[in-house]
């Protein structure tokens, strides 16, 4: 009887894990639509190409070596032996199949990389971006993942878990890491031509398709239930099922709080209800709650999301003043609010500490930013990372892909 119950739990947890992984995979579609909506029509095909290609590269690189670097105890290069049974072998028998764990982990890598594509959109060379994707998903992300979720010491020096670092589903490990890589890229890449005027004015470069951007945001919102909900790692007991339900509730509450806060902030600051800011606000709410969606109350989750929603608007304005051109607001949404998410954890989770969160954030950001800067720098020196000025004017759809997204419309 006990064995049958265990088998049932195993099947249910594995099934739950896989469905959540599939939901997170769908976030790739959300990022693709959000970015396709917020770039100009002449750069649509190229941003879509980047999004589908980075997903496939992330999955392949994580299979080749990423998973083995991040979890040396669980996987080896090329995943040999991953088809085994999660019940046996380990000291604490897992209640899900090892390959389900890989599948759930791999889609997070793709999420981190998707953040980068939006920030460097409309001016970066396709193949330089894809080359960076190989290094980011095969090495940079797995290394910091090893120090955090993998539980290993940072270069043998200190262990983040012992210092009170806690990041439930990856505000820092996934989102801020992606933003750090994006920021390094943008710093070396420069702003889009025409974005900033000589007297310090910021020019608008409106996105081509706000319905797509809205759809993308809703897709991300949906996928986030898998992102945070799946990070409970199990559901087949009263305790776990309750935890999953709370995480779903709080994830949704934070997104709502973020959207409302950003919408009102934009109305007060700009005088108009800026849809793109509202969309960024929902995502900011989601990022803010991702570090700890299981311990806040629903009201706290709404407020945490709301803080993220306000912060993201001012962060976007500030980055523009610093001439850091981020067409979709990815650095603000995932980086600045990702940091906020980490710092909010100790308020509701007594097992974490502010000091641990700060050390963890500095470790993740420092590692990803510096290594990314080196990789982007090498790519810039060897093959160049930016398209020519003429290609940028004509649109990277033509120069990189030779194909327009909307060939029946002529306006550039």
């Amino acid at each position: 009887m006990e064995d049958q119950i265990f088998q049932l739990s195993y099947a249910l947890d594995t099934f739950y894990f896989l469905v959540c992984g599939a939901l997170v995979m769908w976030m790739a579609a959300g990022f693709a639509m959000l970015e396709a909506g917020l770039v100009r029509g002449k750069n649509t095909t190229e941003i879509l190409t980047k999004n589908v290609a980075l997903f496939a590269i992330a999955c392949t690189m994580y299979m080749v070596c990423g998973y083995a670097i991040m979890y040396p105890d669980l996987g080896s290069a090329l995943l040999s032996g991953i088809t085994g049974d999660g019940v046996t072998g380990a000291e604490e028998p897992a209640t899900y199949a090892p390959s389900a764990d890989f599948f759930f982990q791999v889609v997070f890598v793709a999420t981190a990389m998707s953040i980068v594509s939006g920030a460097v959109a409309e001016r970066m060379k396709l193949w330089a971006f894809l080359a960076f994707t190989v290094v980011m998903t095969g090495f940079i992300y797995p290394m910091e993942g090893n120090w955090t979720w993998g539980g290993e010491a940072v270069f043998g020096l200190y262990t983040l878990g012992d210092l009170g670092f806690s990041d439930f589903a990856g505000s820092g490990i996934v989102h801020m890491a992606g933003a750090a890589a994006a920021l390094a890229g943008v710093v070396l890449l420069g702003a889009r031509k025409g974005k900033y005027g000589p007297d310090g004015q910021v020019n608008a470069i409106p996105g081509a398709n706000l319905p797509l951007a809205t759809l993308g945001t809703f897709i991300l919102w949906l996928g986030w239930f898998g992102f945070n909900g799946g990070s409970v790692l199990a559901t087949a007991s009263v305790e776990n099922a309750n935890a999953v339900a709370v995480v779903f509730m709080n994830t949704n509450a934070a997104a709502s709080g973020g959207l409302i806060a950003a919408l009102i902030t934009a109305r007060l600051v700009f005088g108009k209800a800026d849809l793109t800011m509202a969309l960024n606000g929902a995502l900011a709410g989601l990022v803010a709650i991702t570090a700890e969606p299981s311990t806040p109350t629903a009201l706290q989750a709404t407020l945490f999301g709301g803080i993220g929603g306000v912060l993201v608007v001012f962060s976007i304005i500030t980055l523009d003043k610093l001439k850091i051109d981020d067409p979709v607001g990815a650095i603000s949404v995932h980086g600045v609010v990702g940091l906020l998410g980490l710092l909010l954890v100790p308020i509701t989770n007594g097992d974490s500490s502010f000091l641990g969160q700060i050390i963890g954030a500095v470790t993740i950001f420092g590692w990803v930013f510096i290594t990314s800067l080196i990789v982007w720098g090498v790519l810039k020196a060897v093959i160049g990372i930016r398209v020519s000025e003429e290609e940028e004017y004509e649109g990277v759809d033509l120069s990189e892909c030779g194909m327009e997204a909307y060939p029946e419309f002529s306006a550039k």
């Binding site: 608008a204 800026d274 800011m277 523009d320």
Partner: protein, 112 residues
């Protein structure tokens, strides 16, 4: 005979068409156009940055009329297209030398 060309706000097109039908105008030609006048362009907002749209969409209506009904036609268009706000448009009146109905070969006022 006169050719009356009116540039009006797009949302007023139906009102103008109705007003012209009421005074017996038999046909008009409508084109979607863009341009600027005293209204100039307008500013839009994207992520906190303002940008100027230089040319605004308008509708151009062309009507050919006999000399006797020019005044009533002008009055009909002026009244129906008026909102009292900047950007209501303009009406141009120009002489029309000849009109030919292609199907029958009728010319002049018979072809209106």
């Amino acid at each position: 005979m006169k050719l009356i060309t009116a540039i009006v706000k797009p949302f007023k097109l139906d009102d103008v068409r109705e007003a012209l039908s009421e005074i017996g105008v038999q046909g008009i030609t409508v084109t979607e156009v863009k341009g600027f006048g005293r209204q100039k362009g307008h500013t839009e907002l994207y992520r906190g940055a303002e940008y100027v749209v230089d040319f605004l969409p308008k509708v151009k209506i062309e009507v050919a009329v006999a000399d006797g009904v020019v005044e009533t036609t002008l009055e009909a268009i002026s009244k129906s297209a008026n909102t009292g706000k900047i950007g209501d448009g303009k009406i141009f009146v120009s002489p029309l030398e000849q009109i030919i109905r292609i199907r029958t070969g009728e010319t002049g006022e018979d072809a209106i």
